[in-house]
């Protein structure tokens, strides 16, 4: 299936319960904003045509499954035939050399690539069985459930409070905003540092605090999945550790996918690792997917071994 940017960016109909066909048991309902994240039922087991990059031990409850995903920017294919699945309530790390398509893949999971004119995706990205690139899926609904934290902290030029309240207000949430803001800031381990200056601009915080504000802002929408593109690469070591600790806490309630260049970080913080490489045609492809422990102790591929031990990339 192929979805062009023009047809998909805007006026698509709202997500019309797209899961009915694929998984009758659990349509991804639009949760009322501010409600606690309900435990997700285990997705229907996939049929026999397992993608080839998948190792035997496939996670039992994938939140997202990519199969044969190729992503194009105009005529250039940035990612080729990628398949892997993202286990729920775990941290999945995407690693690989620069240009191997990690960010591109991450943005494919919440349809942020739609915003890039000329980008196109072949294959399927399934979220609890629903192909997110089906014509009747609303990318805006997708992004409400699958949040994203960027490499460079990008708080809005608004107060700390308004930054966190931004997402809930989009959905018309009016109930107990103060409580939601506090809870989100607490979950992002930022509350104690900012509780006395919620009216101050988010731009007045340090880089690490700004990044945690961006995480709080994402949490406030109560997504199921949080995508993070090198969230700590612009931060000092202490803030980096804070973010890592935070991720470990967040995985209780959220599924996390993180892109990182930092091998120790991937090894320390993630449960599962996807290793991408760039082919001769400059397209990224999956070399190996496995539990992080396995990847870092006993990888199947020589290439993986070489990459994690810093011999290339």
């Amino acid at each position: 299936m192929r979805v062009t940017t023009e047809s998909a960016t805007m006026t698509t109909p709202t997500m019309t319960d797209p899961a009915v066909e694929a998984t009758p048991s659990q349509p991804p309902e639009i949760r009322p904003p501010g409600a606690m994240v309900p435990p997700r039922p285990i997705a229907r087991a996939r049929d026999a045509s397992a993608p080839r990059n998948e190792p035997e031990a496939r996670p039992a409850n994938p939140a997202v499954e990519l199969s044969d995903v190729s992503i194009f920017y105009g005529a250039f294919r940035a990612v080729r035939d990628v398949s892997f699945s993202v286990p729920a309530h775990a941290i999945t790390a995407l690693i690989g050399p620069s240009g191997s398509g990690k960010s591109t893949l991450l943005r494919a999971i919440n349809r942020m690539n739609d915003l890039t004119p000329g980008s196109r995706l072949d294959g399927e990205v399934r979220y609890h069985g629903t192909n997110l690139y089906r014509a009747d899926v609303d990318p805006v609904e997708v992004r409400r459930r699958i949040g994203m934290v960027f490499q460079k902290p990008n708080p809005f030029p608004k107060s700390i409070y308004d930054n966190v309240a931004f997402g809930p207000r989009l959905n018309g949430y009016r109930d107990n905003m103060d409580e939601l803001v506090e809870r989100s800031l607490r979950q992002a381990a930022l509350w104690d540092e900012v509780k006395d200056k919620l009216k101050q601009s988010g731009l007045a915080l340090s880089g690490g605090q700004q990044q945690r504000l961006c995480i709080a802002r994402t949490i406030a929408v109560e997504p199921e999945i949080i995508l993070m593109d090198e969230p700590a690469s612009a931060l000092d070591p202490r803030s980096t550790l804070q973010i890592e600790e935070l991720m470990a806490e967040l995985k209780e309630n959220y599924t996390i996918v993180i892109v990182t260049h930092n091998m120790q970080q991937a090894a320390r913080a993630s449960d599962r690792t996807v290793f991408l490489n760039m082919g001769d045609d400059r397209a990224g492809y999956v070399v190996e997917v496995d539990d992080t422990v396995k990847i870092f102790t006993n990888p199947r591929e020589q290439l993986t071994e070489d990459y994690i031990s810093g011999r290339f990339g």
Binding site: N110, P117, P157, K158, V221
Partner: protein
């Protein structure tokens, strides 16, 4: 050359470099001066000539029975200027910013190039043509008045607003917009909650440029607002006046008293634009800080 290397610049080359440096400084300084002198002269002369006639009476009353004598004022002009300027701003700002948003939000639209071209052409159209156009299209149908005057001022303002707003909106970082989209904002939500607030202070500057330009216009009003001898509050149908119309009329008149009032009117117009700019800037920066 074995001992410590001297970092001090010496010799002919260094002297020449110092000379060129000083010469360039002088040239640039003169250029700045040449640009600023006329500006200061205008302001200084306007103040010097206008201040003596700038009395409370001038600010609070309309024409005397006889225009030959001193006294009376431009209250009707001030009100007409504010009335038509306000209406024109109300018309031109939403349309102009909407057009600029169209250009920045849908850059690949086939309409983008024509809109841009049209705005550029309109900037270059002599303002008397704008008056003629409104006269032909509107005045002959519904007569002279405040509204048709405001329409002609809005047409003057529109291209300025479109082009300046487009530039400003382009400077809003893509990172901010992506942050908004990633939270599940729709395009119009991103526009209203992120893009426009982030651009507010710059947009205000562009709008103020357009307002200042429009408030000083005489030619488009001659054929649309026409004239008035006293304060006119009618929306349409009655002739209206404005500060530049009165200045124009009395400055070329034969009476010394009238010319004095024209100077005071010029000073009033200058002060008005200044005050409006300051107030608008203050509001915009306060809102942006929130």
């Amino acid at each position: 050359m074995t001992a410590a290397v001297s970092l001090r610049a010496t010799g002919a080359r260094a002297r020449r470099r110092a000379f060129v440096n000083a010469a360039m400084h002088a040239v640039l300084g003169l250029a700045v001066l040449a640009a600023l002198v006329p500006l200061f002269l205008i302001i200084a002369v306007t103040i010097a000539q206008g201040l003596p006639a700038m009395t409370t009476e001038f600010l609070t009353s309309t024409f005397n029975f006889s225009r030959r004598v001193q006294g009376g004022g431009y209250l009707h002009g001030l009100i007409g200027t504010l009335y038509m300027g306000g209406l024109a701003t109300l018309m031109a700002v939403p349309i102009g910013i909407a057009a600029a948003l169209f250009l920045t939000e849908f850059p690949r639209s086939r309409l983008a190039a024509p809109i841009r071209f049209f705005a550029d052409v309109m900037t270059g159209v002599p303002s008397v043509f704008v008056g003629l156009f409104v006269y032909a299209v509107l005045v002959r149908q519904i007569g002279f008045g405040t509204f048709v005057g405001a329409v002609s001022l809005a047409i003057i303002m529109l291209p300025i607003i479109v082009r300046s707003a487009e530039e400003i909106l382009r400077t809003v970082p893509g990172d901010l917009k992506r942050g908004s989209y990633a939270l599940g904002a729709r395009q119009w939500q991103t526009v209203f909650r992120v893009t426009l607030p982030a651009a507010a202070s710059g947009l205000t500057t562009g709008v103020m440029l357009a307002v200042a330009r429009a408030l000083g216009e005489t030619a488009p009003l001659v054929l649309t607002a026409l004239a008035a001898q006293t304060v006119v509050l009618d929306f349409q149908g009655q002739g209206q006046t404005a500060l530049p119309l009165l200045i124009f009329r009395e400055a070329r008149g034969a009476f010394a008293a009238g010319q004095e009032r024209a100077w005071a009117g010029a000073l009033e117009l200058m002060a008005l634009v200044l005050v409006l700019s300051i107030v608008a800037r203050a509001i915009a920066t306060r809102r942006a800080a929130r």
